[in-house]
């Protein structure tokens, strides 16, 4: 492609929109201008997260397997260069920079209120120019080892990964995003270059900028800095995941005042990923089941069984999905029992039209609000791109959602045979 192809996507409710650019380099670029804002937020992401441990390049014959934690390791290393590291460069222009690795992506970001162009150049430059040697890789093994230790002191983090470990037999979502001390010790500079060349191909990445900028400004810099990559795509492979769980209860001892718990239902689906409609329907179900306006929440609160940390989420991604209830409780087993009981009741009575409309209104309000936050917008654009969704489609889905669809989902979900309860509590003497 020799020209950029620009489309403007507008939303009638918000009366605003964003540009979607098929850049001539092969990268997809999104620009959501907010001229009234002082800040600008940019995020450059690759669809490469902790679960991508087995893959094949389109120009290679065989699948490669890499140690757990490689995506996160690479994220750390990209900040370095032969001269000034990215932080030192941002310091000169004034920006707050960061990066994160999740299960399915790695993102580099910054936010600033001035010198956007310079900051944006730094972002595009360092993400496109990896630099590491065996020596710097070794040094990083020590630093990340410490980081892994620090997360081992975090009860919520441990509780979640213990849950996933008990829930999944083979899926790499069960392994800590940062890997283990053992797995990261196997990482070499060559391996990092190979992963970089596979996953940091522009066709596997997305760039989004939201805030005080224009599409012209973004493209001027992108045009001058981004060269097309070789035509390579990546194919991921996952081991078959059985429908069964590993074990239904798991406990770890850490110094916590109130025990921390996570209670989830492993789901099996015929398709790899959940649709936006399914995700929204499930979050409505979870809100009606256990949200702050639910009878269950009031009962648990009145009985002294949960506190304000109690929450729900529909945890899902490629080949994994699980509604999870989590929080702190002196008696997690009873909490899990009450959740099961409430689900059984709701499956009998089903969700009423009134409940549904109330929660739908709440969802609509939350979606509107999300569009004022440039952090959410820029990250949302990148995530939507990776999931092949359009950012505004959420409004349509909420508007068109049918109660019958939600109730059908409720009846199918929450299989009592696949529940896992994970508890982190103080050692009992």
């Amino acid at each position: 492609m020799s020209e950029n192809k620009i489309t403007y996507i507008k939303n009638d409710i918000l009366q605003e929109g964003y540009y979607s650019v098929e850049h001539k380099s092969g990268l997809r670029i999104y620009v959501y201008p907010k001229e009234d804002y002082a800040s600008t937020y940019a995020v450059f992401g690759t669809k490469y997260g902790s679960i991508d441990t087995r893959f094949k390049r389109s120009d290679k014959a065989d699948f490669t397997e890499i140690p757990a934690g490689t995506a996160h390791f690479l994220e750390h290393k990209l900040f370095e260069s032969e001269e000034l590291d990215a932080f030192q460069r941002y310091a000169k222009t004034g920006a707050s920079a960061n990066a994160y690795t999740s299960f399915d992506r790695t993102c580099y970001l910054f936010t600033c209120t001035g010198n956007f162009k310079e900051n944006f150049q730094i972002l595009l430059d360092f993400v496109r120019h990896p630099y590491f040697t065996e020596e710097t890789v070794q040094k990083e093994q020590g630093i990340i080892g410490q980081e892994i230790d620090m997360y081992k002191d975090s009860p919520e983090w441990e509780c979640l990964f213990n849950l996933l470990d008990a829930m999944y037999v083979n899926h790499p979502v069960k392994i800590d995003i940062a890997g283990t001390k053992q797995s990261i010790s196997e990482i070499t500079a060559d391996m990092l270059f190979s992963c970089y060349n596979t996953f940091y191909n522009l066709s596997n990445m997305a760039l989004a900028v939201a805030g005080n900028t224009t599409v012209e400004e973004v493209l001027e810099i992108a045009d001058s800095l981004l060269e097309a990559d070789e035509d390579v795509t990546v194919e991921r492979a996952f081991l078959e995941e059985p429908a069964e769980i590993v074990k239904s209860y798991v406990e770890e001892n850490l110094p916590v005042a109130t025990p921390v718990f996570a209670f989830g239902y492993k789901e099996s689906h015929e398709t790899h990923e959940r649709t936006l409609e399914e995700e929204i329907a499930m979050s409505i179900i979870l809100d009606i089941l256990a949200g702050q306006m639910s009878p269950l929440y009031k009962e648990l609160l009145d009985d002294g069984l949960v506190n304000h940390t109690f929450s729900t989420e529909y945890f899902n991604g490629y080949n994994y999905a699980a509604p999870i209830f989590s929080g702190e409780s002196t008696d997690p087993v009873t909490v899990a029992e009450k959740i099961k009981k409430r689900i059984a009741e709701l499956k009998k009575t089903l969700i009423t039209e009134e409940q549904f409309e109330t929660v739908r209104k709440k969802q609509y309000g939350k979606t509107v609000r999300a569009f004022s936050d440039i952090d959410t917008l820029a990250n949302g654009l990148v995530v939507s791109h990776f999931e092949i969704e359009e950012l505004f489609s959420e409004f349509e889905v909420i508007k068109n959602l049918k109660l019958s669809f939600v109730n059908e989902l409720l009846l199918k979900a929450f299989d009592e045979k696949t529940t896992v309860l994970s508890v982190v509590c103080q050692q009992k003497n």
Binding site: S96, I143, D149, M150, P155, E279, A370, I374
Partner: protein, 461 residues
């Protein structure tokens, strides 16, 4: 989709920096979005602030009560929680939450903070802008009514708060305190403050203590509530495009019959530390935590603030700071290491996560960085970078009504409301000499070390 999905992201080393900036309430929202700040006094001593701005997707209304920080801290801290649990009109949590859901998912907040030696209780509601309502109703006016009902018209039983709800909220507050003990980073910081300010009111935790919470009864709590209504400085703040007149009327209606007798107090500033207090504890955790508390030589919150704030950023507030680039990156002594200033008390804290056997080395390295600044051993480019970083974060204040509320209400204790731009102008004037002078005013007061006794990770075996 991230609107619903929790972002389980591994935020590594840099997370610390953002954390510090956010805690300072300085990354909050600026600049081009046109907004105006006004205040007036409505009825008996209730101050009403109005931040008008158009174009936002949300609006918010908050009520702040400023009280002296003292032995009643636990009682006062429990009040906002009980008020948002039920009211005469909304008898339980379910009916409140149902009402908020129908108001397009409006959010209720009850926040307790410590500003110098004051305890600030803030109750508020934030909602979507009226233009997004389906039937053209005023969401902000309706949300304000809910908020005022909750705060000024509680559900009573025999003339006091409802016992079962008080007991339930006592448990919840105790568990919040307990969670701060579990989080060793927070615990170490809290212990350092407790030891450093054992002779000052500032040593009291913003939520008081578990012992004090356990002694609360519906009677004593109701008495504290009445005191709050009469003694506290009350500030109502309305931000966004709102029905201001409707809120003004609510303030007048709900406060006109209150007996007002505002109590004021002044935060004690101790400029210089004498001896260094040292305390060490052990816990079966993997990573050790070292916290150091310093006096900054300030006579009051405005005493040469700009220079000191820039100095703290240069010392340990940014990714280009000495603590980050030298102690953490170059010497690999700390997993995280940063400095934070508490302007309202004239002190600074350095927090770090270390291998316990590195305690002495880390402590010496941290102090050495401060010595180097005192000697003028820092680059002009780093000074510039610090000023820029502060400019950047102060400018972003105007990007949301919640951020504007947060910015202006963090000044409600003194009531001398200043715009972020005024601070930025002062930062820009800070010179190398000012930084050296500010660093020379700093003295070490307290060191708290939490030694980790748990074994390391799997590869050590």
């Amino acid at each position: 989709m991230i609107f619903r999905k929790k972002l389980w992201k591994h935020l590594p080393q840099y997370d610390n920096i953002l954390f510090i900036l956010r805690k300072d309430k300085e990354i909050i929202g600026s600049g081009k979005m046109k907004y105006n700040f006004n205040k007036e006094t409505v009825s008996k001593g209730a101050e009403l602030c109005n931040i008008t701005a158009e174009g936002f997707k949300s609006a918010c209304v908050t009520i702040s009560f400023v009280l002296p920080l003292g032995e009643k801290a636990s009682l006062y801290a429990l009040v906002p929680n009980v008020l948002t649990r039920s009211s005469a009109k909304y008898p339980d949590i379910t009916s409140i939450e149902n009402k908020l859901a129908l108001l397009y998912g409006a959010e209720l907040v009850a926040d307790i903070t410590k500003t110098g030696e004051h305890q600030v209780l803030k109750l508020g509601v934030s909602c979507i802008d009226d233009r997004f309502a389906f039937d053209g109703e005023s969401i902000t006016a309706e949300c304000s009514k809910v908020l005022f009902e909750l705060v000024f018209n509680p559900k009573l039983q025999d003339g006091v708060f409802c016992e079962s709800e008080v007991e339930s909220e006592k448990r919840l507050l105790c568990e919040r305190l307990a969670a701060e003990v579990s989080d060793k980073r927070v615990y170490a910081k809290n212990r350092c403050e407790e030891i450093m300010f054992s002779e000052e009111a500032y040593g009291i935790h913003r939520l008081g203590s578990v012992e004090a919470i356990n002694k609360i009864t519906p009677e004593t709590l109701y008495e504290a509530y009445r005191e709050m209504l009469s003694d506290a400085k009350i500030t109502v703040c309305v931000s966004g495009k709102t029905d201001y007149d409707a809120v003004r009327k609510l303030v007048a209606d709900y406060t006109e019959n209150l007996e007002r007798n505002t109590v004021t107090n002044k935060t004690v500033f101790i400029e210089t530390a004498n001896d260094v207090k040292y305390t060490k504890e052990t816990e079966p955790v993997k990573q050790g935590k070292l916290v150091m508390g310093f006096r900054m030589g300030m006579a009051d919150a405005d005493d040469n603030y700009a220079a000191r704030r820039v100095m703290v950023d240069l010392f340990g507030g940014s990714p280009h700071s000495k603590l980050f680039t030298i102690v953490r990156e170059k010497m690999s002594l700390c997993y995280y290491c940063s400095a934070r200033m508490v302007r309202a008390k004239g002190v600074m804290f350095v927090q770090s996560g270390i291998e316990s056997y590195n305690e002495e080395k880390a402590k010496n390295a941290i102090l050495q960085q401060l010595e180097d600044i005192k000697k003028g051993d820092f680059k002009d480019s780093d000074l510039k970078a610090s000023i820029k970083a502060l400019e950047d974060s102060f400018k972003s204040v105007s990007d949301s009504p919640e951020a504007l509320d947060s910015w202006f209400m963090s000044q409600c204790v003194s009531g001398g409301y200043r715009y972020p731009e005024e601070f930025i102008e002062e930062f820009k004037k800070v010179t190398r000499e000012d930084i050296i002078k500010a660093a020379q005013d700093v003295t070490l007061d307290t060191v708290f070390m939490l030694e980790g006794t748990a074994e390391g990770g799997e590869s050590d075996e």
